[in-house]
Symmetry: C2
Subunit: 169 residues, 2 copies
């Protein structure tokens, strides 16, 4: 069985790319549903055990970020809330809620796309995912495949602005 | 309709006490189910619109803290993820995940019992609930009715330790 513990993404990061592309497919599905396009997948031993996208508006639920839904799915798939040995790939730096949830779920690693200067809680505003004071720490890989992740977000908000002004930006 | 915006708890804090007692009833239900006893309620215009307790083990879900379940319930009750005008009463200082969720849900206020020096994210380790850098800030009332909240937690862990040692502490 494929080992999930790949080296940190580098020139030879085909596997990481494959998983981040799966997260991007989720993010695109969010945009399709008129949700802020953020997607996440969770990988355990080379297998994707959770795929989710932001559904805050659809579910009318403030907690329905991609990462939270993916964590609940992965715990169901594993039959345990402890997700040791798992990696999350997510298309934006997790917020305090999601970074906190990653710690409680005891994942090994989080790989994310662009930083979120407004609410990022792995590096930007807080460093929750690997805070030595909490009872678990994840390996954090920031800025992986930033460009396609960012492009999806930028396109979404550009379209929103256009709609908000009746097509006249 | 009763206004939810009571003054901060003081000598004349009967209403706050009533809501915190409802959160304590939830915490006791958690203990009964062998879950760490933490309970939360959400109040809107004098009415409790959500009551929940920690269900991490029961649901095998790392995100199933009392606060998260209560937020999802309250959003369903209101038909909107925005919980302006709402107050949460919770029997322990919220963690990063839950404090982050309170901000995203845009509650007016959080009232909690004892501080959590190991994971508290309103005052102890972080100040997420009223961080000026995030897009919403709650009023934070810390240390309200600490004693009964703490007693439930202490009894639970004392009983756990006793069981773990076959009744010989």
């Amino acid at each position: 069985m494929k080992n999930d513990h790949l080296p940190a993404p580098g020139p030879d990061s085909y596997e990481h790319e494959r998983y981040m592309r799966a997260a991007l497919v989720e993010a695109a599905a969010a945009a399709e549903a008129d949700e802020v396009p953020i997607g996440a997948v969770i990988v355990h031993r080379g297998r994707i055990i959770a795929r989710a996208h932001n559904q805050r508006e659809t579910l009318k639920d403030p907690t329905a970020h991609a990462e939270m839904i993916a964590l609940t799915q992965a715990a169901a798939a594993r039959g345990d809330w402890r997700l040791h040995g798992c990696t999350m790939y997510v298309t934006l730096e997790p917020c305090p809620m999601c970074a906190g949830a990653l710690v409680w779920a005891r994942l090994d690693r989080v790989v994310y796309g662009p930083a979120d200067p407004k609410a990022g809680a792995c590096r930007s505003l807080y460093r929750i995912a690997d805070d030595a004071r909490l009872n678990h720490r994840l390996e954090v890989i920031a800025g992986f495949m930033e460009e396609p992740c960012r492009a999806l977000l930028q396109d979404f908000f550009a379209r929103k602005r256009k709609t908000a002004t009746n097509g006249y930006p």
